[in-house]
């Protein structure tokens, strides 16, 4: 039994894989038979010629036995399915012969595959990151979480020392921490850099050699050694212009001068995303258990050790620590995980919901391909006679479907190649958006790359086959249904094919999309424009905006006090000095400070008012922005108050609790009533969504104009007085005379003079602060526009194909009707009825969806202008779609009755 199955499989495999060999062997065997028989016949006395003829007659027709032989080997099915080169050649010929279909179908498939490949690759990199280092999958991170609140505990210096001494299944343990420091060169201004302080062991885990110079070594960790710095390639290029003599140069890293000892190769940003590395100098004796700086611990799994073994060993060490030091360690649970997981640890549910995005992409592909299927169907239908004839002379239905599949596969392959070629570009775009959206503009970890993995290429191959099945096999099955009876009909001149309800549904969906998507896109555009062009009532282009920060160790270095209060006090002092020097600069008109500047994104807060508030629009209550501002804020921004008073120094005392509100607050929350003297308090905010009702009340003392506070929930906002020793970090608005950009170097230099540890981030003219948001909006705007154009193109092509098909089908009928005296109007009406209905339905559905999105979900007010725009767009769509009907219709009406009677359908 088993041997039988095995023999069959082997013989089948041989037959399929070496078909021509098998055929040649059969022919050779038949020849041998006939020759042997001839020789025997000659021996019986026949003349050689006669003997050979006799032998051939006795043998029978070799071709027949060859075919039967193939069937004996179970090869018949393969003969029927067998996709030959000819099919593909035919497929290519079809691409050239029908350039319209090739262009539309190819572009559509390419687009769907482009989106699919990019999404699959990105999700793959997020969920199954591959660390592009030698044995990168064995690099692990060790974290400690508290069992009581599930939070990570980063002060694990003592544990790190324990693990280094005792952990066997993880070797090469090292520690690092992120620090942002100003990098100050002798000849240039200060600029912050993303720095990692690493132990030599942590640095060596990557097993990457420096481009030149040396890496961080163990000696560097000693406080007695001179401070050193290793540069990343990108930073070396940006700040040092790729200077080959950079080794030995001294730069100021915050308050510390350090010597550059090495440059790492391009792309090296280990362990996460750093630009330069300094030694991590930790003296464990200086700190109590559970104290000390926040560090991250990484290592490599020992040879042959598994992650589970490492976890078991670590858990045991954790238990021992809990026994030895119950006060600090009883609730702590150490955990080992792959390096990438320490950056992003997705729960199974989150991972699943992320993966499901791929399903949506496949649905998009299916939708796109069902359109291409429509076109392919129309084309196949024009070849109906050809197909019927082929069937009559022996091609089976399977054979014909296979050939149409091959044709679609050629189209799919062209689309897939285009999509793949563009995928890298799309991925870069997506990674950039991801960085600005989720990382506040910080770069993604080094293991994200904009190249495609082999599994993505494989996935694209599968998508292409799926596309070919939908776009090729489905229409082929429909066209060849009841193929035996078609030959009769085709020759009699009346086609048996009709476009059914499915095609109608596809076209209606399509048209609906082309209506709904651009409306959504333009809504996005409108939002973006509103943010960008928001008239804040003062000349923002004359102001420079910047975020001011300071190195955390600055205060401990000057006074030895490591407390946060000491740090904030020093920061307040430096900030004031910086402000003073700027104000004295002749190029500066004025300077002011705030927690957030106009037009920046503000966090939302849910508030309540003691009395006089209008009913909120929905259960989300009154959500408003809030920020703190300096006393002179409105004065510097040339924005006089509308009523009430501004802040004064008395408001800074802790019992004062006064706020200003803006005009939208008065309109939206208080319905235009006088706000002065009313009180508000906070009940929830963006970070802490749990409502609370014990917050302090604040009295409203004044009203400011709307200068652009936005939180995503309207423009109402509240201003608090800024307490200098509490605000960190702060934004500065510097009113500059002349071009703000030209003042940047001077501004950085001033900051450096005040204190080298003062860091300046997000330095840009105030009218550009919405750049990140703009990028996001423009991404979605472009993507929606692209999808809409593809949908529009497809529906036009689809409607054209269906019309052309229908008219061609009915040429005979139309001719006869015209000949019998039917008016052109009636003929036209009968042709137009169906596409008109489809387009009309689609436009209605699209308008409905748009309305639902805009007014139902986003709670926009129904504006006559918006409604008129949607209506105008719907009419435009209707007109454009009808345009697609014109060519086939004029063709039909021009038909001469005699010609129509000759037409064979």
């Amino acid at each position: 039994m088993i041997s039988g199955i095995f023999a069959r499989a082997r013989s089948l495999w041989r037959g399929v894989s070496r078909r021509s060999d098998v055929d040649a062997e059969m022919e050779e065997e038949f020849r041998a038979h006939i020759e042997l028989r001839t020789a025997d016949l000659i021996r019986t006395g026949l003349a050689p010629d006669a003997a050979a003829r006799q032998a051939r007659i006795e043998f029978g027709r070799p071709e027949r036995f060859k075919a039967e032989g193939g069937a004996s080997r179970g090869l018949r099915r393969f003969d029927e399915l067998g996709v030959s080169w000819l099919d593909f050649k035919l497929g290519f010929r079809m691409l050239v012969r029908y350039p319209g279909l090739t262009l539309v179908g190819g572009l559509a498939v390419a687009f769907a595959i482009w989106v699919g490949a990019g999404t699959f690759e990105f999700l793959g990199q997020v969920m199954n990151p591959r660390i592009p280092l030698a044995e990168g999958d064995r690099i692990v991170a060790i974290e400690v979480t508290s069992a009581t609140d599930g939070r990570q505990t980063p002060r694990i210096l003592h544990d790190y020392v324990d693990w280094r001494a005792n952990l066997r299944s993880v070797t090469e343990l090292g520690a690092y921490r992120s620090v942002e420091r100003n990098l100050i060169l002798e000849s240039a201004h200060a600029e912050p850099a993303d720095l990692a302080e690493v132990t030599a062991s942590a640095f060596q885990i990557a097993r990457v050699q420096p481009l030149f110079g040396r890496a961080i070594v163990a000696d560097d960790e000693s406080p007695a050694s001179p401070p050193v710095l290793v540069l990343g390639w990108e930073l070396w290029q940006r700040r040092f212009g790729g200077d080959p003599n950079v080794l030995g140069r001294t730069v100021q890293v915050g308050i510390t001068p350090a010597t550059i000892v090495g440059v790492m190769p391009q792309g090296f940003r280990f362990p996460i995303s750093y630009e330069a590395w300094a030694p991590l100098r930790l003296n464990v004796l200086e700190y109590e258990r559970g104290q000390g700086p926040a560090i991250s611990v990484i290592g490599r799994l020992a040879p042959n050790a598994t992650l589970d073994e490492a976890q078991t060993e670590l858990t045991n060490l954790g238990r021992r620590a809990a026994l030895d030091f119950p006060a600090t360690h009883e609730h702590l649970r150490p955990r080992v995980m792959p390096l990438a997981k320490s950056w992003l640890d997705l729960s199974t549910g989150e991972a699943l919901s992320l993966w499901s995005i791929n399903l949506f992409i496949i649905m998009l592909l299916a939708l796109v391909c069902s359109n291409v299927a429509l076109l392919m169907f129309a084309r196949a239908a024009t070849r109906e006679s050809e197909i019927a004839v082929r069937n009559a002379i022996g091609a089976s239905r399977t054979r014909i479907v296979t050939q149409l599949f091959a044709e679609a596969l050629v189209l799919g392959a062209v689309g897939a190649s285009l999509g793949l070629a563009a995928a890298g570009f799309g991925l870069r775009w997506g990674l950039g958006i991801a960085a600005t959206q989720f990382m506040d503009g910080a770069p993604l970890p080094f293991w994200f790359r904009s190249t495609l993995s082999p599994s993505t290429v494989l996935y694209v191959g599968m998508l292409a086959v799926l596309a070919a099945i939908i776009a090729g096999v489905l229409p082929a099955l429909k066209v060849t249904r009841g193929i035996g009876t078609q030959l009769r009909q085709a020759s009699a001149g009346g086609g048996g094919l009709r476009f059914g309800g499915v095609w109608t549904a596809v076209i209606v969906t399509q048209v609906a999309l082309t209506v709904a998507l651009p409306s959504t896109a333009f809504q996005l555009r409108k939002d973006a424009n509103r943010i960008r062009t928001l008239d804040v009532g003062f000349p923002t282009q004359q102001y420079l905006s910047l975020r001011l920060e300071m190195d955390r160790d600055a205060s401990s270095a000057t006074s030895g006090d490591t407390s946060r209060a000491a740090f904030l006090a020093l920061f307040a002092e430096r900030k004031q000095e910086f402000e003073r020097r700027l104000t004295n600069d002749p190029a500066v008109v004025d300077v002011t400070l705030a927690g957030r500047l106009p037009r920046m994104y503000h966090q939302w807060n849910q508030i309540e008012v003691d009395e006089g508030a209008v009913e909120p629009l929905d259960e989300r209550g009154h959500r408003v922005s809030s920020t703190s501002v300096a006393e002179d804020y409105f004065e510097v921004l040339r924005t006089p108050l509308l009523s009430g008073r501004g802040f004064n120094s008395g408001d800074l005392s802790s019992g004062a609790r006064v706020v200003l509100v803006n005009k939208p607050f008065v309109d939206d929350v208080l319905g235009g009533r006088n706000p002065i003297g009313r009180r508000i308090r906070y009940i929830a905010n963006e970070d802490d969504r749990r409502p609370r009702d014990d917050g302090p009340w604040y009295e409203i003392v004044g009203v400011a104009r709307d200068i652009g506070m936005t939180s995503g929930y309207g423009r109402a906002g509240i201003y608090h007085p800024m307490v200098p020793t509490e605000a960190y970090p702060v934004y500065l608005a510097v009113h500059v005379q002349g071009d703000p950009n030209a003042f940047e170097p001077q501004l950085r230099a001033t900051a450096g003079e005040v204190d080298p540890t003062l860091r300046i981030n997000e330095l840009m003219p105030l009218d550009e602060v919405t750049g990140g948001e703009m990028k996001f909006y423009s991404f979605w705007f472009r993507l929606t526009l692209l999808i809409s154009s593809i949908a529009l193109l497809l529906s036009l092509a689809g409607i054209y194909a269906v019309m052309a098909f229908t008219v061609a089908r009915r040429t005979r009928e139309i001719g006869i009707r015209v000949a019998l005296g039917a008016s052109k109007r009636r003929v036209l009406a009968s042709i137009f009825r169906r596409p008109l209905m489809q387009v009309g339905l689609g436009v209605l559905a699209g308008t409905f969806v748009t309305g639902l999105l805009a007014y139902g979900i986003n709670r926009m007010e129904v504006s006559p202008r918006g409604a008129a725009m949607v209506a105008a767009y719907a009419v435009l769509m209707l007109a454009v779609c009808l345009l697609a009907c014109i060519v086939p219709t004029t063709r039909a009406l021009a038909v001469e009755p005699t010609e129509a009677l000759r037409a064979d359908g």
């Binding site: 023999a7 013989s11 065997e29 038949f30 041998a32 029978g60 070799p62 004996s72």
Partner: protein, 114 residues
Amino acid sequence: MSDQAAILPGTLDLLILKAVSLGRLHGYGVLLRIGQISAGALEIQQGALYPALYRLEHQGLISSEWGTSDNNRKAKYYRLTAAGRRRLGEETASWNRLVDAIALALSATPQEVG
């Protein structure tokens, strides 16, 4: 009418297995051997032999290899496999039962039925 009998459908496989069981043979040899062991009583269309050979090989009942014939002609030789030998035994037994049963049925006389 010829004195040769057309073979019953389905019996060609059995004949081939039997012929090959007596020694390694090429296709033409199988034909000669069947003629020889049936004393020329069975008529087989020569070409039809090959699809049957391939079928048996596909089922793993016989195996093949290329060799040289007596007059130095390259030819493909077939031999019985272990599975083929088992099948031949089963088929022979079942054939004999059938023949006995048919013979018995055909030899029935009116007396026996009566």
